[in-house]
């Protein structure tokens, strides 16, 4: 069995690597067929044909496209993300700094989503058909309907402008851990509320399916109360669809972070991406796209591996 397990990991890694190569080609081709030369944008209104041509050569944009791709990829493999067209700074360093904001933001949002979604989903399933279940169902419906932009603005107005509990924008940097955490709470909430509401619905459905299962009835016939039987016999199987959704949700949280970071003026990957797009800093856009793709692929792999851990029926197959 352990050999099968090892093979599975090796094959998954193969899939991840080939997906990364495919994604890098897509990203590169898409961004390079966009109209407008980065050199013209950088030089702005003072550009002359000569200075544009000089900058094009300096940036390496005159090389054949496959060469540009290989140069970029070669850099990425060696951990060299290149240099920003605009700031002239090392992109790797900038992305690293931005990830220190976006990473904790997404994790915190997920945590908040779980803290909201798990109890709500469980209550919704266990109290189905009673008033408490209906209240929970209504709450999660509202939660799903609120876009994170609106949630963010409402939270800002309520908790920071009116009550001064949290800062409404800005980020002090991790040398001030407490202040940084406080700065992340509201944006994480704005992201996490929606996430939690969606999770709650999936958890409710998964748990309800477990409550109807034959083996939960068997567990109760042994003398476990309904909630005990669910906890000991049902939750593990119920976790499978929930983990799937969670994996997808993290991807959408990363996307949501782009919006929320701009509302709360957080110097994260989202803000960096938006600025880069505005400035036609193509290489930054490419790099960030690849970072996001890598993160999503890794999460999907973890989700796939977790299925095997959760359900023995899936071990040693595939």
């Amino acid at each position: 069995m352990s050999k099968g397990r090892g093979w599975f990991v090796v094959r998954r890694l193969g899939v991840v690597l080939s997906s990364l190569v495919a994604a890098s080609m897509l990203v590169f081709v898409f961004l390079n067929v966009l109209p407008g030369s980065p050199a013209e944008v950088i030089l702005g209104t003072q550009s002359t044909p000569a200075s544009v041509a000089a900058l094009t050569i300096q940036l390496g944009l005159n090389k054949p496209i496959w060469r540009q791709y290989l140069d970029w990829m070669g850099g990425l493999v060696n951990g060299n993300f290149g240099v920003s067209y605009i700031s002239g700074q090392s992109i790797g360093h900038e992305i690293h700094q931005a990830l220190l904001v976006t990473g904790p933001l997404v994790l915190l949002a997920m945590l908040i989503g779980l803290v909201i979604g798990v109890p709500l989903g469980l209550t919704g399933a266990l109290y189905k058909g009673r008033w408490l279940g209906s209240v929970v169902g209504g709450l999660s419906q509202i939660g799903i309907a609120i876009p994170s932009v609106v949630a963010g603005i409402l939270l800002t107005v309520g908790l920071s402008i009116k009550l001064h509990l949290f800062p409404s924008s800005g980020f002090p940097g991790w040398q001030d851990p407490w202040g940084s955490l406080r700065a992340l709470v509201l944006p994480a909430f704005a992201l996490g509320v929606v996430e939690g509401a969606i999770l709650a619905r999936y958890i409710r459905a998964a748990v309800m399916e477990q409550l109807r299962s034959d083996y939960l009835r068997t567990a109760r016939s042994k003398g476990l109360r309904r909630s005990q039987a669910l906890r000991r016999h049902g939750l593990r199987v119920a976790a499978i669809p929930v983990v799937t959704v969670l994996g997808l949700e993290i991807a959408s949280l990363i996307v949501g972070a782009i919006v929320v970071e701009n509302i709360f003026a957080l110097p994260g990957v989202g803000m960096m991406l938006l600025n880069a797009v505005n400035n036609r800093d193509l290489i930054v856009v490419q790099d960030i796209a690849m970072v996001v793709v890598t993160a999503v692929l890794l999460i999907n792999t973890l989700v796939d591996l977790s299925y095997q851990w959760l359900d023995p029926r899936l071990r040693g197959r595939r």
Binding site: D214, Y215, A219, S221, K222, H233, D311, R313
Partner: protein, 324 residues
């Protein structure tokens, strides 16, 4: 005094009674079979006894177990009885065991719940129980997951799980229906032997009289959610009085007897079982019964005595079967 006493037990889904007015007794150590076609309310009756009906179903009437009323008892109270004094064996071995737990853990759990036994001790007990249900290498099987076992093996695990708590009453809901014919007999023999050894009472639900007659002392025939006849196995087999019991008997014995005479048509009960809520009023069998009259618009009262029938036109007690 009866160990289990059902009085006017009904199970309803909303306003619709799926089981109506079921009454019978089970004495300590006695083996009672409930027979009837699918949809006759046998399984619901068993689930109602154990308090394991689905959320949407409600039971009324009385289920007395060892002097205690179980209808309306709290989940906490019922959960103390379940597994310890009342155990169940379910029909579907493929889905009745938790897929994510090793079978040894699932068997030992009953002891951990009711006897406060630790993990190690419960595993030793589980291995011993697996040996009692005739696993040749119980140590190895205790570490397996249900999906690694065959249907018959899983049903033996179910039986081990049921006897783990040394119960006074086992409710077995068609324990062999989902199994291969070759395995069915083995499982029945095993169940028969273990119930005898444990001296525990058994309610065995089956749709086949042959299954019930080999194991049980008494038979309850159900149709349309009602008890239509009860009596000793000998009474029922030799002198069925309800036309439905007689018809069931004819179909099950015909298979045993008429295998060689290929030309003859196997007897079957005319018509089919209506779906719940579509049984006719009065006697639920009157649509399919050849002796039905206008009297059958009213459900007949059960007579008293050891061999009882609810029928306006019962078959003659003294006639041998086959004279129908």
């Amino acid at each position: 005094m009866a160990l289990l006493k059902l009085q006017s037990l009904s199970v309803a889904h909303g306003d619709l009674d799926l089981v109506s007015d079921v009454s019978f007794d089970v004495h300590a150590g006695e083996r009672v079979g409930i027979i009837g076609e699918s949809g006759s309310g046998k399984s619901l009756t068993a689930l109602a006894i154990a308090g394991l009906l689905g959320e949407e179903l409600r039971s009324r009437g009385s289920v007395h177990f060892d002097g205690e009323e179980l209808i309306g008892a709290s989940e906490r109270h019922l959960s103390r009885l379940r597994g310890d004094r009342i155990a169940m064996i379910f029909q579907e071995p493929m889905t009745a065991l938790t897929p994510t737990k090793r079978v040894g853990v699932q068997i030992g759990e009953t002891l951990r719940i009711h006897r406060g036994v630790g993990r190690r001790a419960s595993q030793i007990a589980a291995v011993e129980l697996l040996g009692r249900v005739e696993f040749s290498d119980p140590q190895r099987y205790a570490r397996m997951y249900p999906h690694e076992l065959s249907g018959g093996q899983r049903q033996r695990v179910m039986i081990a799980l049921a006897i783990a708590g040394d119960p006074d009453l086992i409710l077995a809901d068609e324990p062999t229906t989902a199994l291969d014919v070759t395995v069915q007999r083995k499982i029945l023999e095993l169940l028969d032997r273990l119930v005898r050894e444990e001296n525990c009472a058994l309610v065995l639900i089956a749709h086949d009289l042959a299954v019930v007659s080999t194991i049980c002392d008494r038979v309850v025939t159900m149709y349309g959610g009602r008890v239509v006849e009860t009596g000793s196995v000998a009474d029922i087999i030799d002198h069925p009085r309800h036309p439905y019991t007689a018809a069931l008997l004819a179909t099950s014995s015909a298979i045993a007897v008429d295998v060689e005479s290929r030309g003859t048509v196997l007897p079957s009960i005319p018509g089919s079982v209506p779906s719940a809520g579509h049984f006719p009023g009065g006697c639920p069998f009157r649509d399919r019964c050849s002796s039905a009259t206008s009297a059958c618009l009213e459900f007949p009262l059960m007579e008293s005595g050891s061999h009882r029938v609810a029928c306006w036109h019962p078959l003659d007690e003294n006639s041998e079967r086959g004279s129908r």
